[in-house]
Symmetry: none
Subunit: 194 residues, 4 copies
């Protein structure tokens, strides 16, 4: 098993601080020192893991959303990719939701200021801007704030799914319709159900 996978496993289960480099090395079936051949220190290992996953996810999203013009379709695709991704990378999800800035100073700021994080945010904000242009989303909302809200809602739903659906009989991807409904239309009953 490669080191990043081992790190994902351990960080995901124990969190950054409780995870030890020895845990990770053991999980990767390496000696302690070997981990340091590939990653300068614990923080860098963590950072690299976040970057790798973020890069993968971003690549997927960019590729898939580029194919369509319609903002609502883009949002839907983005959401589906994200849900798929987190269904496959549940260990990583625990890490990723900290991205919002709740974890530790030095690492978080390193992540937040990384080119990739900015690109990720820019990509979602871009979709939001397009949605505004296409009158799908209200104009009086800052695109990056819109992106934050969209992410929050989806994270909340993913979290809920993780808790209630431990056996995972239900695919996370199926929640995309619901999330999009909520984001666009809110919690109020739609007209036809009134």
């Amino acid at each position: 098993m490669d080191i990043l996978s081992a790190a994902e496993h351990v960080f995901g289960r124990k969190g950054y601080y409780k995870a030890t480099m020895q845990d990770i090395a053991r999980q990767a079936q390496y000696a302690t020192g070997t981990v340091y051949l590939y990653f300068k220190d614990k923080e860098t290992l963590y950072f690299s893991l976040v970057e790798e996953k973020m890069r993968d996810l971003l690549a997927l999203i960019k590729e898939r959303t580029a194919a369509v013009r319609d903002a609502q379709e883009k949002l839907k695709i983005y959401l589906e990719e994200k849900l798929d991704f987190f269904e496959k990378n549940q260990d990583f999800f625990r890490i990723f939701i900290l991205e919002n800035g709740a974890a530790q100073a030095s690492i978080d700021s390193r992540i937040a200021t990384s080119a990739l994080a900015k690109e990720y945010l820019a990509c979602i904000s871009e979709i939001m801007r397009l949605a505004q242009k296409q009158k799908l989303v209200r104009a009086d909302m800052d695109p990056s704030q819109g992106a934050g809200i969209f992410r929050s809602i989806s994270n909340a739903v993913i979290m809920d799914w993780l808790k209630k659906n431990m056996q995972q009989t239900l695919s996370l991807r199926q929640m995309s319709r619901f999330i999009l409904d909520i984001f666009l239309g809110g919690a109020r009953p739609s007209d036809e159900t009134k």
Copy 2:
């Protein structure tokens, strides 16, 4: 300064792991050992802090929302109290958003399974249920999931406010209208702007 306030100050600024018991004792103007007279260990101190604040917030919310019957009004009041509370307890906010389960396993589960947390969730879920009865909120949404989404959206907005409004010229409470709009009506343009 009492120990819980000191803990709030230090945990809020450094996070659970970087905060040391000595930091907290120093901040409280007590000797290290004294902290242990009141709290069995670090985890318990953290847990007690979260509980105390949650109790305060919950009491406020219960008291204020009990006075009205209308679900939308209840939601508005809940939101305003929460925003006020976090504006006054910004140190605590950083702690509270971790409540979602992204921090370290043992404490998080202790918090999540605490009677108070359940009561808090129940209180919000109850409001959701009422909102469904009053046709304010769509029926096909699990009340606790609705509560999660509502909390996520407000947390996202608070976070945004914290970042962009460091000088705090704008009161957080003023965001309640916007949050409620988003939660109920979603991001789609309202009819009149169509």
Copy 3:
């Protein structure tokens, strides 16, 4: 046993790098962490030890040499105090001879640039200058270089004494006459012995 004495013992026997903080703690009959209550880190402990000893020696030398006016007498007293001091602090001598700059960069420069080291050097240079004024020492010699040579000769003799006189039947102090003779008159036979 206090920590500085333990450090002197261990550093003197093992040298800076081979000495471990655990060695020192054990020697001082403390737990590892206790050493860190008093000294920030290993380097600081080492530095503090050197400073303490240097301060003691310098105080002795200043006090005793202040009492006389004659440069040759001053040199003799300086030498006797130094020899006495190193006879009593043999562990420390191994450390002190590194003072010349042969040890490790960060520590050495910290020592070399310390106020105390400068004062020590200034004190000896001052005596040299006086010796030049009193025609005891040739004028075409930089005082600090003279000090360096004087120190070198005495260090060489101390080292020799340490090697050949392990049983220490001979007092080191008795070498002062010889060292002074060599420094002032050189190795050439004196007139009367020609």
Copy 4:
């Protein structure tokens, strides 16, 4: 670049402990393991380096001093060769002055008890003995002690030169006259200046 030269470079700049075998291998443009084909371990590499240089220097000194009979001339030649040698091998000088026994026990004693070191000392002591026979040096001085003092004085001067003459506009060899003056005649003003 051969391994010993690389070792000289690295040891001279970083000192024994801070120098790593990887540093040395990199400098020698070899893989880490290759160094171990030629040298059993780090200590042996260090030791071999010291021996090689000492052998070179000793060979030079022996060859050049054998040509003359006069003790003073021998001392002068010895000194000039040594100064030349260290001017060419400044990295090595930092290593060599530790030879005095201030570094780490195991290696130092290995060096001190090596046949070569003994031969080196014997060679200088022999010159001292001859100097005594020729009445150049006082009889009441142990030859090996005399050698130690002579070496100390020259080391002090070289050290001084290294510090003050970083730009190296002044050749070190030119200091030989001064060193010999000091060693033989001491610091006292010469008769003509009285």
